[in-house]
């Protein structure tokens, strides 16, 4: 069989198809021989690491007061109170420390923003209203100074999201370790970001200043989206038809429609940034009508419609709690009580830093909600297993269980507490450096003591 010019007619030949498929599989197979992370391993893959004597908080199981965790090939192979340590294992003494799963930040600008006031270093906002073609992974500065700082506080993975306009682009899920942005990818295209209007602030409010009134209502915006989605579906139909029948002209390339196809087909979820209670209800209706997969972000007035969100089965990423409630009547603690009420109503919640420079504050966002009534175990879940479940990576991330990726944090206390010091962080079974911008500069200027003595 010779490789003839590929024509639709010839491709219909089944034998040829099978042959092509086989070639493809072999090719891909060689590429896929490595696990999720293609990071350069400093240790031998076959080496076993044993963390012994730690208190273990698996998140999805009982807390083990003193136990061990075995790591091999980047995975947790065993954990428990009585785990036998194989000979030749590298033992890490962890008495007095607590082992947690690494935390997952459900919405950040890590790698897209260095100095927020210097535009040249900011890449999170594209210009224009409809930009589904834009992908956060392609701008990710993996050597951002904020990433090691977040990692040093126990965050091992983060959603990096573009922002701005109506359809901001495709967010990505990365692990906070890798020599290039591609090495950090967990899910290259995680979810489309769509931003709906902010809450219409009444004058004054908490900050005492007049709030900014959004130009368009959510109702109008959803109408606009409906039209855009409709156009995408129509585009797809026409392209499909043209593919099947070469006599039909190809419709003009429409980038927006093209990149929205996975969304309208229900394959790529959408993270809706939505805020006011009425807007949340309208968006739920929209999601159900359009039959798309949705996650909500922000949801400042979610507590008012918690039941409806629960029934719709839509998970909620809580926006930064480092804000004032936009509506005075909701009460000074509305933003803090919001995740508590949602959680109690059965909504799956996850916390976010919504930042780059304070991404390390993710655990304290969770603790803040706990201060206002969220059960501490739920707060911990909302930065570990719940985000993993929301983003469909819970088979490998979000808790300490055999078979899962070895993303482990060893802390000298409660992971969500302010004073806790992180001693070690493992990502993909590799111990990662906790050196960061803060420690580098500190060490440099601690030198001054010795220098001064010499000079004086």
């Amino acid at each position: 069989m010779k490789l003839t010019r590929m024509t639709p007619a010839s491709l219909k030949n089944k034998t040829q198809l099978v042959f092509m498929a086989a070639l493809l599989c072999l090719g891909l197979g060689s590429l896929y021989s490595l696990p999720l992370s293609a990071a350069v391993q400093t240790e031998d893959k076959a080496e076993v690491i044993a963390i012994v004597g730690a208190k273990i908080v698996p998140v999805t199981g009982q807390i083990i007061d003193s136990g061990s965790i075995l790591i091999k090939d980047g995975r947790i192979v065993d954990l428990g109170a009585n785990v036998s340590i194989p000979a030749g294992a590298r033992v890490i003494e962890a008495r007095g420390l607590t082992a947690y799963p690494g935390m997952i930040d459900s919405y950040s600008w890590l790698g897209l923003e260095e100095i927020s006031g210097v535009r040249a270093t900011v890449d999170n906002r594209e210009t224009g209203r409809v930009n589904p073609q834009v992908k956060a992974i392609e701008a990710l500065r993996y050597d951002s100074m904020h990433i090691p700082i977040a990692r040093a506080n126990g965050i091992v993975a983060a959603v990096v999201a573009p922002s701005g306009g109506l359809i901001s682009g495709q967010s990505t899920l990365i692990k906070l370790d890798g020599w290039t942005n591609r090495e950090m990818v967990i899910k290259e295209s995680l979810a489309m970001i769509i931003e709906l209007p902010a809450i219409r602030r009444s004058r004054g409010g908490f900050s005492g200043f007049r709030g900014q009134q959004p130009q368009v209502t959510t109702e109008k915006t959803l109408d606009e989206l409906r039209q855009i989605f409709k156009k995408a579906r129509m585009y797809e139909k026409r392209r499909e038809a043209a593919r099947k029948n070469s006599l039909l002209p190809l419709p003009e390339f429409d980038e927006a429609s093209h990149f929205l196809l996975p969304v309208v087909k229900g394959e790529l979820p959408v993270i809706f940034s939505v805020h006011a209670d009425k807007d949340i209800l309208q968006t739920i209706k929209f999601v159900q009508e359009e039959k798309i997969k949705a996650i909500f972000y922000g949801v400042e007035q979610g507590f008012k419609v918690a039941q409806e969100i629960k029934e719709a089965g839509i998970p909620c990423i809580i926006g930064s709690l480092y804000s004032l409630p936009p509506v005075w009547e909701d009460g000074y603690d509305a933003l803090f009580l919001n995740p508590v009420i949602l959680n109690q109503a059965g909504v799956k919640i996850a916390f976010s830093s919504s930042s780059a420079s304070t991404a390390k504050d993710l655990p304290y966002q969770a603790a803040k909600a706990a201060a206002f009534g969220l059960k501490p175990e739920e707060a911990l879940k909302a930065v570990t297993i719940y985000p993993a479940e929301i983003f469909g990576v819970d088979k490998l991330l979000g808790s300490l269980e055999p078979g899962k990726t070895a993303n482990i944090v060893l802390a000298d206390g409660d992971l969500l507490e302010l004073g806790t010091k992180i001693q070690k962080v493992f990502i993909d079974g590799k111990e990662v450096s906790l050196e960061n911008r803060y420690t580098e500069l500190l060490k440099k200027f601690e030198q001054r003591e010795t220098d001064k003595q010499v000079n004086k």
Binding site: S207, E329, S357, K368, A370, A371, L418, T420, K421, R448
Partner: protein
Amino acid sequence: MILFLLSATWLLAGGDLLIKNATILTVTGGVIPNGDVLVLNGVIKQIGQNLTAPAGVRIIEANGRYLMPGIIDTHTHIALSGTNEGTDAVTPEVTMAEVVNADDTSIFTALSGGVTMVHTMHGSANVIGGTNVVLKLKWGKPSEELIVKEAYPTLKFALGENVKQSNRTLLPGRPQRYPATRMGANALIRTELMRAKDYMATWDRYEQLKKSKNPPANLFPPRKDLRLETLADLLRGKLIARCHAYVAPEMIEFLNLSKEFGFKIGAFEHAWEAYKITNELKAAGVGISVFIDSWAYKMEAAEGIAYNAAYCTKKGLLVSINSDSGERIRRLFNEAGKAVKYGLTQDEALKLITINAAKQLGVDRLVGSIEVGKQADLALFSQHPMSAYTRCEMTIIEGDVYFDREALIKKRAGASAQKGGLS
């Protein structure tokens, strides 16, 4: 005698309370588990166990909750009708004490985070901005009653990017304001202070001539210039400088200016690079008022490190944590709590928002710790204030309760759906 009576009447204006069974974080005298605090006429009268109060005094059952001194924020812009006179680069004549706005809802926001006192300031748009004012957050009281007269009178200076307007787009037809560089800013301070010195000399000459045996016929007083009067007050020691500075060279050079003209510096604000020059700051006896980790928003904040506050404390500087924000002010206790991660103990971290702040403002005789004789500015927390899991439950100023979460919750439960406003 009159002063005594006047002060007594002022004291009578405070409230009476007995707080029972609290974990008392005195700040200057250790922790008293299961202690009581008796407040009469707004002053802490007794601290101990099993205290009794006169009849009619409100009793607050702490049930083991944590009582700390009211939090003091040394750098805010709340409770003012304006922030910046951002036109001329030198406007020391503007007086923030004249634009106190007791109706600002940010006062309530701050109270909900245990803050009882603020040093509220002119902004950082100008090299020399204006005089500032220290307020107690007595929500609902008229503006005059908020002003803390005992505090150091301060004059706001600012250096760096805000003053250079380097983060603004230049509008057509509007020339770049002088100074556009850091050297211009320092030169401007120097020339204005020299001008103030001349102004003082002119007035001195006039006074001399007026008193002399044969004053000349054409003797006429100089023009009173409010701008130069204020600078003269700085040189006379009647005002101390509070200088917004980020990078180390700004602080070094400002220290030099203070030596050159003999004025006192209260503290550097923000001082992100203070860790680089702890020796110089220590030698000059100048403290800092900083964030814990809000950094990387401007180039001059790009080398800020979260270890700054803790490291400088360990090097012997007087350090306070501030909010500079109507939002962050209500989690100032969390910000201080983070300092534990970066090297301080919980007790040391607590000082950053209490006694250290009081010292910087010159009111440490009155507030900043729980001691007999001090004003009863207190905050009650559900957990240790340095814990991430804590929340503020009650805020008390001079024995009067200004924020009461329990009462607020009850009110919400009892009110109709149309609730608005404050307790």
